[in-house]
């Protein structure tokens, strides 16, 4: 099978200067493979390392990979800089997007889109065609047009920040998207809109890894597999029905089986 992502025995630590050796192990042997075109979901208790995994995959400088490998589109992902990963088609919708004071959202989005287009050998979008596209996509997401004029995420509500992430994703057209709790804190209408945003990207060549706590998202986005991440490892893989079971029973049954 043609894999977009193959993670093998991945061990990674967060750089923590308060510790003696400066490293706090978080990921402790993650194995996860995603075939091209599939949607996989990660669920797991708080603090189990879900966001850490998404940071390691996107190349966050606070994390150090201590062993293991990650292959993305047959390339060694771990050797690439964060912007190279983005250019290669990897997108992360952040759990908590940062604010960029003074940086106009439309200008930021256009710079991002054109950086990625340039790296992919595509022509850059001029301001007019970009704005036309951005306004249309913003409208699809019920994202008020004035959000494009504001500074990136500054003073955005939680829900607006999440929508801004999805807007960026729609503009950047990644081939692989990681969504880190993009559905958390959204009301039911916003949830549907965000899910539609993700679904509009669906194609045989688009794959995704969706981190969520809520079964309700999966009413809209149909996953191929659900993985349970706990204590830095994938401890269980199941089909779409697993989320219903977790919703009822919680993680206790699965955690009992994990050895430290």
């Amino acid at each position: 099978m043609n894999m977009i992502l193959e993670i093998k025995e991945l061990h990674a630590s967060v750089i923590d200067d308060t510790l003696k050796n400066g490293l706090k192990p978080i990921l402790k042997g993650v194995n996860l493979s995603i075939p091209v075109g599939e949607t996989h979901v990660i669920m797991g208790p708080n603090g189990s390392g879900k966001s850490s995994l998404s940071y390691v995959l996107s190349g966050h400088p606070s994390y150090k990979v201590t062993s293991g490998s990650v292959t993305f589109k047959n390339q060694n992902l771990l050797k690439m800089s964060p912007d190279e990963r983005a250019a290669a088609g990897l997108f992360l919708a952040f759990q908590s997007p940062v604010e960029l004071p003074g940086v106009n959202n439309a200008n930021f989005l256009r710079t991002a889109v054109n950086s990625v287009r340039k790296a992919r050998g595509e022509s850059e979008l001029d301001a007019v065609s970009f704005l036309k596209l951005a306004r249309q996509l913003a409208k699809n997401l019920s994202f008020p047009a004035d959000m494009l004029k504001r500074n990136v995420n500054v003073g955005f509500s939680g829900g607006e920040k999440k929508r801004n992430e999805v807007l960026q994703m729609s503009l950047l057209q990644p081939s692989f998207a990681i969504l880190d709790e993009t559905d958390s804190g959204l009301d039911i209408d916003a949830l549907r809109i965000v899910a539609e945003g993700v679904n509009s990207l669906q194609s045989p060549s688009f794959s995704s890894l969706i981190i969520t706590h809520h079964q309700r998202l999966l009413d809209y986005i149909k996953p191929d597999y659900i993985h349970i991440l706990a204590k830095g490892r994938i401890i269980f893989i199941g089909g779409p029905e697993l989320s219903l079971q977790l919703e009822k029973e919680g993680y206790a049954r699965f955690l009992g089986e994990v050895n430290e």
């Binding site: 606070s62 800089s81 983005a86 004071p101 950047l172």
Partner: protein, 495 residues
């Protein structure tokens, strides 16, 4: 494209230790021997065939300078300058004062072309481009190469409007009454150590006079270039806006890359009569020295504007990215009733640069207003200080000042300091001061990189966002250049 620095593709490739403007022009020079004394001053004056009053003025300045000490209070440290080890006059040999472009040495024109200012193009494109592209405002340029003004473009168009734009040497010959009346009237000869030195040995610079009721039809610009080795550059600029006149003036600078430090001590005087507006913009990009802090320009500049008439307005906008050491405080003397002084500044330091800049707003008249917006960006091992004085004198009834100083730090080894001095002798005057310090966080850079921006582009974007309120004060074409320059000067600032 009428831009003082216009080769954007090349600009982009620049790195801090690969200063693009660091080339040297091989040209025959007329250089006076090193050293400073009355004979040298007499020789400078003689070379320029100056009238006797000018020579006397220089000698008086020199004698004042001898009694003075260099200022010690700036937060900059540098080895003592040996004033006897410098040349005070260096001029390309074939040039004797300003001429038409046809007589200018082609080597010189090539130098300016390399710098991205084609003097000839300026003239040629003016006619053509105006019809093709209505947005392009022509810029008349006075280019100063080492000590001598090389060419002033667009003379004819300006003359039609009654605007005088020429080198200060020419003005001394052709407009002696104005020079005698205004030179040193804003920055007196003995004002400070560097101003006294400049008054004694200044070699060239620009002179502008906008007559009553005239809105200058184009941006005026001077381009300074230090080329000769061990040469101090001491230009002198005098701009006079008569009643109801308006003018926008741009200044840009570069210098070759050298191991030793070069000295630049300029004086700029602005005189604004009733209902005038003088906008003075600077994009300063002198060679900052190499990565280890060797070489670079020492930039000690006195810039001051006098709002003499009622409702006159002077606006200083500066983007400072170069120089090893910058010591500079463009100021406004708000004498005319309801006059306005503005200072918009972006100062970037990287590597081992040191900058001590700021402004002085002296409120003398009633209902005067001043606005100070100072943005400081420090990266690498650099150190930057904003020093601002706001003074309300007893007659400054209902006058106001608003000051905002924002510092942005990049990395952990740089410093930024804000030193406000506030003096009020009138209880109806209002002074407001706001200051912030922020840092570009790793999370912000990572967020941008995840969206496909390189780290450099990310810093550029955040820095431009931080500075945009100042950049928007620059004339449009300059603003674009300034943005690029900011990005270039910060390249390599984060590991």
């Amino acid at each position: 494209m009428n831009k003082p620095v216009q080769n954007q593709a090349l600009l982009k490739q620049l790195k801090i230790d690969a200063y693009k403007w660091g080339f040297e022009t091989d040209i025959e020079m007329d250089i006076l021997p090193k050293g400073l004394n009355e004979d040298i001053i007499r020789s400078i004056s003689a070379r320029k065939s100056e009238p006797n009053w000018m020579l006397e003025w220089r000698l008086k300045s020199y004698r004042l300078w001898l009694t003075m000490e260099p200022p010690q209070w700036g937060k900059v440290a540098h080895p003592e300058i040996d004033y006897q080890d410098l040349h005070y006059y260096a001029a390309p040999k074939k040039i004797k004062g300003p001429k038409s472009l046809d007589e200018v040495d082609p080597e010189l024109l090539k130098t300016y072309a390399k710098l991205g200012i084609s003097l000839r193009e300026q003239e040629i494109l003016a006619g053509v481009e105006k019809t093709e592209n209505k947005d392009v405002v022509p810029v008349a340029i006075d280019a100063v190469f080492d000590s001598v003004s090389i060419a002033t473009t667009f003379k004819v168009t300006l003359a039609k409007a009654g605007v005088v734009f020429c080198s200060i040497s020419e003005a001394i010959q052709n407009y002696p009454e104005m020079i005698q009346k205004y030179l040193g009237s804003v920055v007196p000869q003995g004002d400070n150590y560097y101003a006294a030195l400049n008054s004694a040995v200044f070699t060239d610079g620009s002179f502008v006079y906008i007559p009553k009721g005239v809105k200058c039809p184009m941006e005026l610009s001077t381009y300074f270039r230090i080329n000769a080795k061990n040469t101090g550059q001491f230009e002198r600029t005098l701009i006079i806006a008569d009643d109801r006149a308006t003018v926008s003036y741009l200044e840009g600078c570069t210098a070759p890359q050298r191991d030793e430090n070069q000295l630049h001590a300029a004086v700029v005087e602005l005189v604004a009569m009733e209902d005038t507006f003088i906008k003075y913009s600077t994009v300063q990009n002198w060679y900052p020295g190499d990565k280890d802090g060797n070489g670079g320009i020492y930039n000690f500049v006195t810039k001051r504007g006098a709002c003499r008439g009622a409702r006159s307005r002077i606006s200083w906008t500066q983007v400072e990215t170069g120089s090893a050491i910058t010591w500079k405080y463009p100021s406004c003397i708000l004498q005319g009733e309801s006059s306005i002084g503005e200072f918009y500044s972006v100062a970037v330091t990287n590597g081992h640069q040191q900058a001590d800049t700021g402004t002085k707003m002296i409120h003398i008249g009633a209902n005067t207003r001043s606005t100070i917006l100072a943005k400081t960006i420090s990266a690498g091992n650099s150190d930057s200080t904003y020093r601002g004085l706001v003074r309300m004198l007893p007659n400054a009834r209902n006058s106001r000042n608003f000051t905002e100083c924002d510092s942005l730090l990049i990395g952990n080894h740089c410093g930024a300091h804000t030193v406000p001095y506030i003096e009020s002798k009138n209880s109806t005057a209002k002074i407001e001061h706001e200051a912030t310090t922020s840092k570009i966080s790793e999370e912000q850079l990572f967020y941008c990189q995840q969206r496909g921006l390189t780290k450099e582009a990310a810093i550029g974007l955040i820095v431009n966002g931080f500075c945009k309120d100042v950049l928007k004060e620059l004339p449009m074409e300059f603003a674009v250049e300034a943005q690029q320059l900011l990005q270039i000067s910060l390249e390599g600032s984060v590991g």
